[in-house]
Symmetry: C2
Subunit: 357 residues, 2 copies
């Protein structure tokens, strides 16, 4: 059994806000798509087949997890709120939460490893790390992949590579992504240029929660689009080599804002913390927007006494399912907005003049 | 000499925020317009005549001021910034600040009395008091008027009464006004009904700084329009008798907002204090708007630890001339906005997370 209560009050390694380039790079992620040989892939699989796949993979998945891991958890018996919680936590994907039939996830220590059984593929492995750490992610995921292949046989074609449900994943089955916080490029609207240039280089830019999600809180995931015809190290290199330019672009823009518009920037950042510390009701959208300003303010030395990990956590812990888990009850939207405001006040230290504190 | 430095750091009795009905009624004011017999009225008077009038009135004006008054001050030699400061303070009128030629003002203790020489009339007397206190204002101004008439002869016509530069002041020369804080009626847009009903009753509604000024900070002055054909007590009664209805209307609206929209109201009020305590630059308009919410919040018990007089003072002390007097230097608009924000942070206690505090 997964201890949701403990999870609610903790946070993953990738939110620690440390690691190389952590002023801009929130986290690095590598995921591999694998399928068992001789079983229909999940989109074509019956409930019974999914059950068989789950039975085959459950043991090996649990075994490759490092010592001290929460372990393997069945996802299908969980309540919808618990599944949504795991999505917000980035432990499982939205697809894994919403699909049908027997499925589960092997969860590693500090939420840095997820091995999803019966997602879009039979197995979706991911390793997440704080800061710029693609190499470390790759080392760890590659070792688990090797160990799994000693126990199960994955669908593999000598010409194409690993076979997957969706053709875009055929080949290495790998997606490499880096989550960036780009508030200065968003404020100055330069972010469009980043999009265009990534697109030209065959890289994708997505929001905080991946495909189709909005770029909330000025977070952007840069990742490879295709996995076919290149080696894993080459794919990692393709993503890694564009990052320094984006980092330099964001940092230069931050410096220019400080030089040219210091008062306005300081004002924006200070008001953001003032509103977060005092609001009595706040939407998720406004929260992300203000937290983004605060995160920028901390990185620029305009705000003291608040740590980056606290802000990183708040991005996740103020999501709807987290708030409902904290309250131990489902909440309507307006109640969530009130709960969110109260949780933020508690975490950031509320305004002193407030009669209800 | 007027001690501007001391004035900058103090505030008038009428800002104390006490007195009857002070949750809504900020202050009461009575003014009398008088002119010397046998001198042309100011609009027709030459500089030389104004000099003569000033010479005649200066002594008697100083004499009728209570002991401990700052005394009589010549306005024409003052710098424009000092005159604007006195206007913001409501010690002199905008007209008195901007007109030409020899002129002065007798200033009473705690800024509750102003006797303006060579304003639109030779003498404009005003008494200001905190809260609902028209009777007290009238007693005090009437005694000063009687004492002045023992020394000088005012232009008086047995049919019309006191003669004045503008026909609307002929008669008693009296204007009675009550400054109300009506944030709930403004928020709910009910304030228009108050305007219409006052208008029908022949009463005027003006903003914080009188004729032509906007209703900043949800402050409204209700006053009589004409002074002819009624006794002074009757005019006071006409204004006084409408006030209870407006008070009840504002209070009922506040109660309804608390009952029906408590969270939203609390949020608005809390955010206002959060922004005021954290902004690094703020316009006068936004300041007035946010202070109005805070004042409402204190009166509704939603904010603790801040006193009404502090907020009342901030409405005045964050005006442009006040900020420049505090800085001892003329300031451009953007510098004023930064100075205003810093002064407010200092008065209200700044946000804790701010690196520059």
């Amino acid at each position: 059994m997964l201890d949701f209560d403990a999870l609610t009050h903790s946070s993953g390694e990738w939110l620690r806000g440390i690691g190389p380039e952590s002023d801009v790079v929130v986290s690095s992620r590598v995921r591999l798509a694998r399928n068992l040989d001789r079983f229909p892939f999940p989109p074509q699989a019956s409930e019974a087949v999914k059950g068989d796949v789950e039975a085959v993979l459950r043991g090996p998945v649990a075994e490759v997890l490092p010592a001290g891991s929460p372990g393997y958890v069945r996802i299908d018996p969980l309540e919808s709120l618990q599944r949504q919680f795991l999505v917000e936590r980035q432990i499982i994907s939205r697809e894994h939460s919403e699909s049908k039939g027997p499925r589960g996830t092997g969860i590693g220590p500090q939420e840095s490893i997820s091995l999803m059984v019966n997602e879009e593929d039979h197995l979706r492995m991911q390793v997440l790390r704080s800061g710029m750490a693609l190499e470390e992610c790759w080392q760890e995921i590659s070792q688990m992949d090797d160990r799994l292949q000693q126990q199960v046989k994955f669908a593999f074609n000598s010409e194409f590579g690993y076979l997957t449900s969706c053709p875009t994943n055929v080949g290495t089955g790998m997606r490499v992504s880096v989550m960036l916080h780009l508030p200065a490029l968003v404020m100055t609207k330069e972010i469009q240029k980043v999009f265009q240039s990534m697109h030209k280089m065959g890289l994708a830019v997505r929001g905080l929660y991946g495909e189709g999600s909005q770029a909330m809180g000025d977070f952007y995931q840069v990742s490879n689009q295709s996995t076919l015809g290149r080696s894993e190290p080459r794919i990692i290199e393709e993503v890694r080599e564009v990052i320094p330019d984006i980092l330099e672009y964001e940092r230069r823009t931050r410096r220019e804002m400080v030089q040219q518009n210091s008062d306005k920037l300081h004002d924006k950042v200070s008001r953001a913390i003032g509103i977060l510390r005092n609001a009595r009701t706040i939407t998720s959208e406004e929260t992300m927007h203000l937290l983004s300003s605060v995160r920028l303010g901390i990185n620029l030395g305009l705000i003291e006494g608040i740590e980056i990990p606290t802000i990183n956590e708040l991005f996740i812990h103020t999501q709807p399912a987290h708030l409902q888990m904290l309250s131990r009850t489902p909440l309507e939207s307006s109640d969530r907005n009130a709960k969110r405001a109260s949780y933020i006040r508690q975490r950031l230290g509320a305004g002193e003049g407030d009669a209800d504190e």
